[in-house]
C-alpha cells in the first residue's frame, strides 16, 4: 500500500493564505461572469500591476517578437515543419501509434475529455494506484484530470515547481510555461511556509530546495507517473519532453506506470524535426538556447534495463481539434505551447495573467482556441479580449497569424450571436457614412454637440465606456479640413 503524498501534506493550510479570485480556481464553473466584469476585477487587483511589470520586463529582456538572422530562419523552418505535419495529421498519427506500439507502449485514442479520463481511470484502477506524480501537462488541465483522479481516491502531485506552487492553493496555471508567473517569491514563501509550518523566508534557492525535498519521497512512492508531451515523433514513436527541473525524467522513469497525455496536434513527422523545434520552444518559452533537461521516452523498460516503467500508455486526445483541421483556423494547431504570445501580450499582462480569461488557456492563443474548443457558450466572446496590437503574431515561433484569427473569430461570433437590430444598426451606419451627405450630417452633428458641456456629453449613448476613465474629445472643429479646399475634388 502506497503512503499518502509527502509534498501535499499540510497543503490544506495554504488554502486560506491568500484570497484568490474565484476565476483563478482549478474548478471552472459551467457558466462564467460577463467578460468585462471579470476583466475589470482583474485589472484592479493589487498584484496585477506587479505581474504586468514582470511580464513586460521579460518581453523586453528576452527580445520577444524579434527574430534576428539565424533565428528568423529557424522560425521559418519551425513554421514549415509544423504545417507539414498538420497537412497529413491522420497519417502521422497512424505512424506514431504504430511506432509507440512497436516500442512496447499502448496508445489510447480519445475523442473527448470523457474518453481520455475513462482510459486513464482504467489504468489507475487496474494498478490500484493511490499516488500519482505529474509533470507539466496543459491537456490534463483541459480534461480536469486531477479532479477526476482525486475523485477516484488517487492523490495527484504536481512536480513542476510552478505547477506545485499553484496546485497547493487550488489555482489554475496562470501561464502556459510559467504557471506561477502571477506570484512573487514572497507569495511562494508564504505558501511553502504554510505547508512547512515554519517560516521559510523568500529566498528562491531555499524555496526550490524545500520543494525538491517535499517531492523526493513522492517520486519514490508514486504508483503512476503522468506527463504531458511536448512533441511526439511519428517516425520513431519517441515522446519528447522538456523541463528545467528534471522532474519529467523522474515522472517518466521512477513509477511503475507512465501515462503520457497529449493532444493529437503534438505529433511531429520526423525525429530530425526536434533539432529545430526543441531549441525554438526553449527560446520562445524561456529564453534558453535549450532547456536544462530534454527527456526522450522510447517505450517502457526493456529487458536488461535498470529503470523505466513497466507500462507506458499514451493517451491521444482529440478534444475538438480535428474539427479545426481544414478550416481557416487550422494553423492554430501548429502551436507548440511556448507561451510567448502570452508573455508578449499587453492585455494578458494588464489583467495579471491568464486567470481572467476564465478558462484553461489564457492570452492570445487562448482567445483563439478556447472559442473553438470549449463547450461553454460564454467563451465565444474571448476574441474581443485583445487590443489587436499584433504583438502575439510577432512573438509566435511558428508564425500563427493570431491577430487575423482574432478578427475572424469576432466575425464568427457576430454571425452567430448578433441580433437583427444590431446588424441593421451597423448596416445603416455604414450606408450613412458611405454617402457624402450622410457623413456631412455626422460632421454637422459632431460640431453641434461640441457646445454641450462634458458632463452632458459623457451621458450620451455613443460615449459608451469611453467616459469611464477618459475625458471626451472635442469635436468643435469637426470637418475643418474641408472648409478651405481650393478645388471641389474629383468626386
Amino acid at each position: 500500500m502506497s503512503p499518502r503524498s509527502s509534498a501535499l501534506a499540510g497543503a490544506e493550510r495554504v488554502g486560506t493564505d491568500r484570497e484568490r479570485p474565484e476565476y483563478a480556481s482549478t474548478h471552472i464553473p459551467p457558466h462564467r461572469r460577463p467578460l468585462p466584469l471579470m476583466v475589470a476585477d482583474a485589472v484592479h487587483r493589487p498584484e496585477t500591476e506587479t505581474t504586468r511589470a514582470r511580464l513586460s520586463l521579460r518581453t523586453r529582456e528576452w527580445d520577444i517578437g524579434r527574430w534576428p538572422g539565424a533565428r528568423a530562419e529557424q522560425r521559418e523552418r519551425a513554421a514549415y515543419l509544423r504545417r507539414r505535419t498538420l497537412a497529413d495529421l491522420e497519417g502521422n498519427l497512424a505512424r506514431l501509434t504504430e511506432n509507440i506500439e512497436a516500442n512496447g507502449g499502448v496508445v489510447h485514442r480519445a475523442k473527448d475529455a470523457a474518453e481520455a479520463l475513462a482510459a486513464i481511470e482504467r489504468i489507475v484502477t487496474r494498478r490500484q494506484a493511490q499516488l500519482a506524480v505529474k509533470s507539466k501537462s496543459m491537456v490534463s488541465e483541459e480534461i480536469h484530470l486531477n479532479d477526476h483522479l482525486t475523485g477516484l481516491g488517487v492523490e495527484v502531485v504536481e512536480t513542476d515547481l510552478g505547477e506545485y506552487i499553484v496546485q497547493i492553493a487550488d489555482e489554475r496555471p496562470a501561464h502556459i510555461v510559467a504557471p506561477a508567473v502571477h506570484l512573487s517569491r514572497t507569495d511562494v514563501g508564504r505558501r511553502f511556509s504554510a505547508i512547512a509550518g515554519r517560516d521559510l523566508g523568500d529566498d528562491p534557492d531555499d524555496l526550490a530546495a524545500f520543494a525538491r525535498e517535499q517531492l523526493r519521497e513522492d517520486f519514490r512512492n508514486a504508483d503512476v507517473g503522468i506527463s504531458g508531451v511536448n512533441f511526439a515523433v511519428a517516425e520513431t514513436g519517441t515522446l519528447a519532453l522538456v523541463t528545467n527541473e528534471g522532474n519529467a525524467d523522474m515522472v517518466t522513469s521512477q513509477p511503475p506506470v507512465h501515462i503520457a497525455v497529449m493532444t493529437l496536434e503534438k505529433v511531429v513527422q520526423e525525429f530530425a524535426d526536434l533539432e529545430t523545434l526543441l531549441p525554438i520552444l526553449s527560446k520562445a518559452g524561456a529564453n534558453q538556447e535549450i532547456t536544462v533537461y530534454q527527456t526522450l521516452v522510447n517505450g517502457p523498460r526493456r529487458e536488461g534495463e535498470t529503470d523505466g516503467p513497466e507500462e507506458l500508455h499514451v493517451v491521444i486526445l482529440d478534444g475538438g481539434r480535428s474539427d479545426i483541421v481544414g478550416t481557416r483556423y487550422e494553423e492554430a494547431l501548429a502551436c507548440i505551447r511556448c507561451g510567448a504570445c502570452q508573455t508578449a501580450c499587453p492585455v494578458f499582462g494588464a489583467v495579471g495573467g491568464g486567470h481572467a480569461y476564465g478558462n484553461v488557456y489564457g492570452g492570445p492563443i487562448g482567445a483563439v482556441i478556447t472559442p473553438l474548443l470549449s463547450d461553454r457558450p460564454e467563451d465565444r466572446d474571448l476574441p474581443y479580449l485583445s487590443s489587436l496590437c499584433g504583438a502575439c503574431g510577432d512573438a509566435c515561433p511558428v508564425k500563427i497569424p493570431l491577430p487575423d484569427m482574432l478578427v475572424d473569430l469576432r466575425a464568427d461570433y457576430q454571425e452567430e450571436t448578433a441580433s437583427p437590430a444590431t446588424r441593421a444598426a451597423w448596416r445603416a451606419w455604414a450606408r450613412t457614412w458611405a454617402s457624402r451627405a450622410g457623413f456631412a450630417a455626422t460632421i454637422a452633428g459632431a460640431r453641434a454637440s461640441a457646445v454641450l458641456p462634458e458632463r452632458v456629453l459623457r451621458r450620451l449613448p455613443m460615449a459608451g465606456g469611453w467616459a469611464r476613465g477618459r475625458s471626451m474629445p472635442s469635436t468643435k472643429d469637426a470637418g475643418q479640413m474641408r472648409r478651405r479646399r481650393r478645388d471641389g475634388g474629383r468626386r
Binding site: P403, G469, R491
Partner: protein, 268 residues
C-alpha cells in the same frame, strides 16, 4: 519603399477620427504636403476606412465602407493619411476582406492591389520625399509606435527619420515605445478599465521621461491617451505628428510667417 519621383497630386485621407475630433492632424498633414509643392485634394466624400466594423466582427458594413473608400480614392496618383492604423487597414485588412467569399470579390481585390501600394502614412511620404522641408522646433519628444502602423504596416523608421530632420528637436526613445497604449478601437469602450490601465503604463513612462510631447501618427491612440491624461492619468501633453511638424514648419519660417517654405528641392 521605392522612391520614384514625388507624386504631384495626392488625395488626403484624414481618417474619421481626425476628421471628427482631431482637426489639426488633418489640416497639418495638408499644410506639410503643400509645403512640399504637392497639390493636395481633400475628397469630400471620404469618411471611414471601415476598420471599426471589421475589427468588431461586422464584415458586411466593413466591406461597404471599404468599397466607398476605394470609390473615393482609387483614382489618385497617391493617397496620404495621418493615420498609420487606417493605412494598415487598406494594406492588410482590405485584401483579406476582398478575399472573403461572403463580402469580397476579385474586382475588389484588384482595386485594392492597385491602390494600396500608392497609399502612404504621412511620415512615410515625408521620409521619402520631404528631405528638404525646413523644420525647426526646440522640443524633447517621445514617440509612440501605434501597433497597427508598427506591426501591420511594418513601419518603424519613417517617423524617426522625419523627426530626426527637425532642427532643435530631441527624440527620446521610450522603453515601452512599442507597447500598446490600450486604445484598440471598440476595445477601449468594451473594457474601459483595462484600456485605461494600459494607457497609464504608456503615459507613466512618458511622464517619467520629462517630455514636451508624446507624439504619434494615430488619432485613435492620441484621443485615448489625451483623454486619459486629462482625466486622472499621468500628465503628458500628447500631439499628432502632423500638428507637431506643422508647428515646426511655422517655427522654421519664423514667428512672422515670412520664412522660406522650402529650401532647395532635390530632383528625386
Amino acid at each position: 519603399m521605392t522612391a520614384g519621383p514625388m507624386p504631384r497630386r495626392v488625395a488626403l485621407f484624414a481618417s474619421c477620427a481626425a476628421d471628427l475630433a482631431m482637426a489639426p492632424a488633418a489640416t497639418g498633414a495638408k499644410r506639410l504636403l503643400e509645403a512640399l509643392g504637392v497639390e493636395v485634394d481633400v475628397p469630400a466624400g471620404q469618411s471611414c476606412c471601415g476598420q471599426v466594423a471589421l475589427n468588431s466582427g461586422h464584415r458586411e458594413p466593413a466591406a461597404t465602407l471599404a468599397r466607398h473608400w476605394l470609390d473615393t480614392f482609387a483614382g489618385y496618383e497617391a493617397v496620404v493619411s495621418p493615420s498609420g492604423s487606417c493605412v494598415s487597414t487598406v494594406h492588410h485588412g482590405y485584401p483579406r476582406l476582398a478575399a472573403e467569399e461572403s463580402v469580397g470579390s476579385s474586382r475588389m481585390a484588384e482595386r485594392v492591389a492597385a491602390t494600396a501600394p500608392r497609399t502612404y502614412e504621412l511620415t512615410q511620404f515625408l521620409a521619402t520625399w520631404g528631405a528638404d522641408l525646413a523644420l525647426e522646433l526646440p522640443a524633447r519628444v517621445g514617440w509612440h509606435d501605434s501597433c497597427h502602423m508598427l506591426r501591420m504596416l511594418g513601419e518603424k523608421q519613417s517617423p524617426r527619420t522625419v523627426l530626426g530632420r527637425v532642427r532643435g528637436l530631441t527624440l527620446h526613445e521610450l522603453e515601452n515605445a512599442e507597447s500598446c497604449c490600450g486604445f484598440g478601437g471598440t476595445f477601449a469602450t468594451k473594457f474601459p478599465e483595462l484600456s485605461c490601465a494600459m494607457g497609464d503604463a504608456k503615459l507613466g513612462a512618458a511622464a517619467a521621461a520629462d517630455l514636451d510631447y508624446l507624439v504619434s501618427a494615430d488619432p485613435g491612440c492620441l484621443l485615448h491617451l489625451g483623454g486619459r491624461s486629462r482625466a486622472g492619468g499621468p500628465e503628458v501633453p500628447v500631439i499628432h505628428v502632423a500638428e507637431l511638424l506643422s508647428r515646426a514648419l511655422d517655427h522654421a519660417r519664423g514667428q512672422d510667417g515670412h520664412g522660406e517654405t522650402l529650401v532647395e528641392r532635390s530632383t528625386a
